[in-house]
């Protein structure tokens, strides 16, 4: 097994040299697997990666993440931008040679219409990013190539939000005719034109010959095939029916592919902007008692679990509320000071037993609600049940399908649950939103109300100084992990397999980024 992993690692390390050494070739059709089918064509109405792996090649965004310099951002439809000294005005100069797939010209009015729809959706239109852009006070278009966003308050995350891959830019003329147009048809300014979507089967796109970047895209087209069953996806990759799966595979699946495909396969790995959380329902006794929550967090051997679970699941890094290794993440030296993050598990468990005894529940029993999704929910659930058993806590592990699972969590019909945080970037305002009080953030599964956390969140969100912001973040994290309303178990690890003929695709810590396929080419 070690040998297989070594081969994979070597393959990954060899990538940059190979990519740089060869000039991109034009032509060919990229065929890749998508492990879910998008629920909608409207980027504003969804948060699932399945939407982006389908839609991103057809659309452009105002900015996008520069994956070579992640988390830096770069222009997509914007050629350049400036931010005013008070950090409340963002002025974007737009590209002038952009046309829509129907041939009509692109202008600043399209950006305005798109963002107006995002922040203030008309009746019947769903915008899951309405709150994200609530700080935008006005959008002005002084000329066809300039757009000015004025904010009502400072928001240090706003530039990154403009680079969100979900903010597909739509035609103002089409939106004027029908605000629901993006949900019905796919028409953007992206590198590929929509060809077909065969429901349940695949999506296909063809090169946009009038794409605004010269000589791009390299591909003639692409085909995204929906393959829901992991074994079928592995077979398809091994058999050459598909050339890549851009979300992730598990370590065991990676090893099977390496064994089956040998030097035809490239494996790229990265830490992932996803984590598994343990959520304690603070409205249920005894989880309203901080000693009980802290004891259960103390009992988890995260460092040992990181070693063991990383062999069998997509879980790997120990981290706090921000992705380990990301610019604002808590360093390990500070992290180990939080309850449950120290490396002396014997001492942690002794402390946990003491806290449970003090709280009057030395023989605690409860039900752990989890999802039926295998990776990484099932191994995570099994692991924590075993960890708690070691301090005398008896847990019944109840796995549920996604729909009843979400229903149980949202209604508060659970005691302790395996939850998750799914981000597309390492931005604290996005990452910490899940932990503010339940009356402000319904996605806070612990249902805790903590005004100190709310205040710290607001302060970091309005801070104009990075150092000051970092200070508030540390305080927020310390408060959160000490109160242990929701505690991270481990962060996920992304493993992307591609056939070596696929070139120019860039790995990143988020499966939501880098799917516009502009720079992808086939070495065949």
């Amino acid at each position: 097994m070690k040998k297989l992993a070594f081969i994979g690692l070597v393959a990954a390390l060899a990538l940059p040299a190979t990519t740089n050494a060869q000039a991109p070739k034009k032509g060919g059709t990229l065929v890749y697997a998508i492990s879910a089918e998008t629920p909608t064509y409207d980027c504003s109405a969804t948060d699932t990666y399945a939407g982006l792996h389908f839609l991103a090649p057809f659309y452009s965004t105002l900015l996008k993440f520069d994956l070579a310099k992640y988390p830096g951002v770069m222009g997509d439809l914007a050629e350049s931008w400036t931010i005013s000294d008070d950090k409340k005005t963002y002025t974007f100069k737009l590209r002038q040679n952009v046309t829509w797939h129907d041939g009509s010209p692109f202008s600043s009015a399209d950006i305005k219409a798109t963002y107006d729809r995002l922040r203030n959706p008309p009746t019947g239109v769903v915008s899951t990013r309405r709150a994200t852009f609530a700080d935008i006070a006005s959008i002005d278009t002084p000329d066809a190539n300039t757009v000015v966003f004025k904010l009502s308050a400072v928001n240090p995350a706003m530039l990154e939000h403009f680079a969100s891959p979900w903010n597909c830019v739509y035609s103002a003329a089409k939106l004027k005719d029908d605000p629901q147009f993006p949900a019905k048809q796919v028409m953007g300014t992206g590198a590929f034109k929509f060809v077909e979507h065969v429901k349940g089967s695949h999506v296909a796109g063809a090169r946009n010959d009038k794409y605004f970047l010269p000589d791009r895209p390299y591909l003639d087209g692409f085909k995204g095939v929906f393959i829901l069953q992991p074994a079928a996806m592995l077979n398809a990759l091994q058999g050459g029916q598909v050339m890549a799966e851009f979300r992730s595979v598990s370590p065991a699946e990676r090893d099977r592919l390496v064994q089956g495909m040998g030097d035809k396969l490239r494996i790229e790995e990265s830490s992932w902007t996803l984590n598994i959380l343990i959520a304690f329902n603070t409205e249920k006794k005894p989880f309203d008692d901080v000693r009980v929550r802290r004891a259960l967090s103390l009992a988890l051997d995260r460092w040992g679990g990181s070693v063991g679970l990383s062999r069998t699941s997509t879980l790997r890094q120990v981290g706090g509320l921000l992705r380990p290794g990301s610019p604002m993440a808590t360093p390990e030296a500070d992290l180990v000071k939080f309850p449950g993050f120290g490396k002396d598990i014997t001492a942690n468990r002794a402390e946990a037993r003491k806290l449970l005894a003090e709280a009057g529940v030395p023989n605690l029993k409860f039900e752990l609600v989890n999802r039926t999704i295998a990776q990484p929910y099932t191994p995570a659930g099994i692991y924590v049940v075993d960890q708690w058993r070691q301090i005398g806590v008896e847990v019944q592990h109840k796995q549920m399908e996604t729909s009843p699972y979400l229903a149980a969590l949202n209604a508060g019909n659970y005691e302790v649950a395996i939850d998750f945080s799914n981000l597309f970037m390492d931005e604290p305002s996005l990452a910490l939103a899940k932990y503010v009080s339940f009356d402000k953030a319904p996605e806070n599964r612990s249902r805790a109300i903590d005004r100190e956390l709310d205040s710290l969140y607001e302060k970091q969100n309005r801070s104009t100084s990075d150092a000051e912001r970092l200070g508030f973040l540390r305080q927020f994290e310390a408060r959160m992990l000490n109160q242990a309303y929701q505690v991270p178990l481990l962060w996920w690890h992304r493993i992307v397999p591609t056939n070596k003929i696929v070139m120019g695709w860039q790995m990143s810590p988020s499966h939501n980024l880098g799917q516009d396929l502009v720079n992808v080419w086939l070495n065949q």
Partner: protein, 316 residues
């Protein structure tokens, strides 16, 4: 016969209405909310107002009886509504998959019939000989081995021995028959084996029983050739229960190949059914249940009509 057909067709209405009532209200008892799954299933931070607005847009805020009346009115006018997950017409969602599922069912039925009838007959005519034992072993294995597992073996064998896999996306048979059959023959064979085993055992036991009947003895006493005794006198009667099984299996295959479809990545009705259930896509589930119930009823009717064609004693 015509009045019988008319009566049976009319009887479909209350049967389907009963199915409709049952499925509609049972689904509403199941916990879960499609809006939550759709907008928050991947961890999205969506406000409660957005969720509520989407529920309203889908008509989920209306009282249940009003929702039922809306659905029934739509059904009566062949407007099956829109999928709550994709917002596309349910008829479009189903039509894209139905063609493939029906084709797999037809190919599997052909495979099953071509294998089962000769094997079942041979097994009956040579019962308690090595031929019978070999066929029984073959059929018992067919019943014991799950179709999806056989499918996995087929896929892995094709990959290991020939480094080849069938096409991954569906091409209609009228567009490219070779591509179509090279994709569908493998899953059809995998499910056809079990199907053949069920039918072959039915044929065998029926023929053994029929061969003991008085009219067979009479035919033999009259000096009729043994081949004619079997084909003309025994088979026609012995096939009646086999036809019932073939009909039921065929109807089952339309929507029941859930795991096999996933193994072969087939875009069929079974996979759609599972997706719809996991997402609480009520309108899609309801329409699919009604479709499958209609297929079962139609196949049963066809089987009854075939009874009359095969057995001169049966008249409606």
């Amino acid at each position: 016969m015509l009045s019988y057909l008319a009566n049976r067709t009319l009887m479909m209405v209350p049967t389907l209405f009963g199915v409709a009532v049952l499925i509609f209200f049972l689904l509403r008892v199941v916990p879960g909310d499609i809006v939550e799954v759709k907008l928050r299933g991947d961890g999205g931070t969506v406000t409660a107002e957005t969720l509520e607005a989407e529920r309203k847009r889908m008509g989920l805020d209306k009282p249940l009886p009003a929702q039922f009346v809306d659905w029934m009115t739509g059904m009566a006018t062949f407007d099956f509504g829109k999928s709550m997950w994709t917002d596309r017409p349910v008829s479009e969602e189903i039509a894209a998959r139905l063609e493939l599922s029906i084709e797999v069912a037809i190919i599997a039925t052909l495979i099953a019939v071509l294998i089962a009838i000769p094997m079942g007959t041979l097994s009956a005519l040579f019962h308690d000989t090595w031929i019978d034992y070999a066929i029984r072993l073959f059929t018992i294995a067919g019943l014991a081995v799950p179709s999806f597992w056989l499918g996995m073996l087929v896929i892995l064998s094709l990959l290991s021995f020939f480094n080849w896999l069938p096409p991954i996306t569906y091409t209609p048979i009228y567009v490219d028959p070779v591509a179509n059959l090279s994709q569908l023959i493998w899953p059809a064979a995998a499910v056809g084996y079990r199907y053949a085993a069920v039918v072959a055992r039915m044929v065998r036991s029926s023929i053994i029983e029929v061969m003991k009947e008085d009219y067979i003895r009479t035919a033999r006493a009259k000096g009729v050739y043994e081949r004619l005794v079997v084909t003309r006198h025994a088979m026609r009667n012995a096939l009646l229960p086999a036809i019932t099984v073939i009909g039921l299996e065929f109807a089952f295959l339309i929507g029941g190949l859930v795991v096999t479809e996933q193994v072969f990545n087939l875009n069929g009705i079974g996979k759609l059914f599972v997706q719809a259930v996991s997402r609480n896509d009520f309108t899609l589930i309801q329409t699919m249940v009604m479709l499958i119930a209609s297929i079962f009823i139609a196949v049963n009717l066809l089987v009854d009509v075939l009874y009359a064609a095969l057995d001169p004693r049966i008249r409606y």
